[in-house]
């Protein structure tokens, strides 16, 4: 009986052994093998379908703020004080006609509005109404060159080590009809904490793709040369670039 108990407890502790074994494998060849799931997920799910649309009644009363701190630079404080009068959204890179869009110009373009769910990678969700310009309209206005593969969003927020937030989408994701440069949240201009004046909204992917405080959109052929080379602030810290799952 003692042997049975020993074997039973040894087998049960197999679950507990997973943690130290898994941790010890960090940086090993096996650990690198784990990344094969991302291309599989990307191939399986891709960028198809439309995010679920919710009724007005589903809007979250309290939308969490979970990002880098709201920018505190002199430039951003000045933007807020002047209602973003001097703010320009620069769109350049592999485009035919690089341009700088004022808020007035963005607002004068056709506006889309959608009540969608924001899915944080942490596990929580929140629902809000987002209105603004379709990213595909902006890309259409500047015209993509043949070498264009990715759309990169340079943002105004910085972490405590002064690293700049950025994100990227491929052209399928960028031209998705629900991918917006949101100017309004729940019927009012986006509050500073939620990314004023322009926040990317990608409701078919996890929340870290929906970059706040977008200042420059750069169209590129490869992500390897920008920042940490993985295509996003969180991606450079190990999160998957494909954020549909």
């Amino acid at each position: 009986m003692k042997r049975r108990l020993f074997v039973a407890s040894a087998t049960s502790s197999a679950l507990v052994a997973c943690s130290p074994i898994g941790t010890a494998l960090n940086g090993s060849g096996f650990h690198r093998l784990l990344t094969v799931a991302e291309p599989l997920n990307h191939a399986l799910i891709g960028t198809r379908g439309l995010a679920q649309i919710y009724p007005q009644s589903a809007i979250s009363p309290d939308f969490p703020v979970n990002s880098l701190p709201t920018p505190s630079s002199a430039q951003y404080v000045g933007f807020v004080a002047t209602h973003f009068h001097s703010y320009r959204l620069v769109v350049d890179g592999s485009v035919e006609k690089p341009q700088a869009f004022s808020l007035d110009r963005l607002q004068a373009m056709p506006q889309a509005s959608e009540i969608t769910r924001h899915d944080c990678v942490d596990g929580w969700s929140a629902i809000a109404q987002w209105s603004g310009t379709r990213l595909s309209d902006i890309l259409g206005a500047v015209g993509l060159r043949k070498d264009a593969r990715y759309v990169v969003f340079h943002c105004m927020d910085r972490d405590e080590r002064s690293a700049q937030y950025y994100e990227s989408l491929d052209l399928d994701q960028a031209n998705h009809p629900q991918t917006l440069l949101a100017l309004r949240m729940n019927g009012a201009p986006i509050p500073a904490d939620h990314g004023a004046p322009v926040r990317l909204r990608v409701p078919t992917q996890l929340g870290y793709k929906s970059a706040k405080w977008v200042q420059r959109i750069e169209v590129v052929g490869t992500l390897a040369k920008l920042y940490g080379g993985k295509g996003g602030y969180w991606e450079d810290q190990g999160y998957e670039w494909y954020a549909g799952i």
């Binding site: 049975r4 108990l5 074997v7 039973a8 087998t11 049960s12 197999a14 679950l15 507990v16 052994a17 997973c18 943690s19 130290p20 898994g22 941790t23 960090n26 093998l33 784990l34 990344t35 094969v36 799931a37 991302e38 599989l40 997920n41 799910i45 891709g46 960028t47 198809r48 379908g49 439309l50 995010a51 679920q52 589903a58 979250s60 009363p61 769910r117 899915d119 944080c120 990678v121 942490d122 596990g123 929580w124 969700s125 929140a126 629902i127 409701p203 078919t204 992917q205 996890l206 969180w234 810290q237 190990g238 999160y239 998957e240 954020a243 549909g244 799952i245």
Partner: protein, 274 residues
Amino acid sequence: MLDGVELCRRIYKYALATRISHWLWVLAFGALVSSGMQIFNATSHLDASDASDPAHRVLSIDSPVDGLGTATLFGHTFATTGWLGWTTDGIGGYAARAFPSWITIPAYQDLADGRRWHFFFGWAAVIAWLIWLISSARKRNLKEIILRPSDLPKLWPMQAYYLKLRKEPPPYGLYNPLQKASYTAVLFGLAPLMVLTGLAMSPGINAIAHPLTWLFGGRQFVRLWHFTGMILLIGFWLIHVFQVATQGIVNQLTSMITGWYRPEENQIVPGKTT
């Protein structure tokens, strides 16, 4: 039906594909539970509401103040310091962390890495399931393991035997009626439920298959079902390991490695013998 000569015979019970799948599941189950707890730690509560209404909070694991860990289930709060809420952080200290470092992969808080482990072993578990299903279907072995209506009257006699309320178990085939019930529930109920709820949590899948997420009641409900499924699977696993350890552990483990199994006296089994 069984005479003395047959008592020491052995039968080829587990096909190679079944054995490979079984041990892949052992690996995948450990990695999925551990990395799943790592993922849970990033938002350590479960809501029965997509609006994240605290009034509909089912489970919440918190640290109200440093040094104190609590778990609140259906509004009832328990002090769980050291086990849940305030736990080892995997880098030498304690922190406000739902599940402790000795059960999460990696030990320290790293959501990105936990997700990588989870998705890899999610695929591994699905592939192992498909290998087992296709192989068993081709060999016509599924009928041995799936619970049938004719097994239902034998469920209680089998349980009574385990509880020592009855001297003899009822006659059965390769698997006893309780094994059939639990294996059928896990392989065709819980396992698909875990995959479907895992997928339904993802915004990309939600965009492709709205009814899937709707069916489970929304993304936060999906999270709740996924977690509940894990608890049920851990329950199955505990009973399974206990049974293996107490019902002839050498015979059980040997058979899941070599395939050859020495049947119980009351088992009516066809097939090859040694």
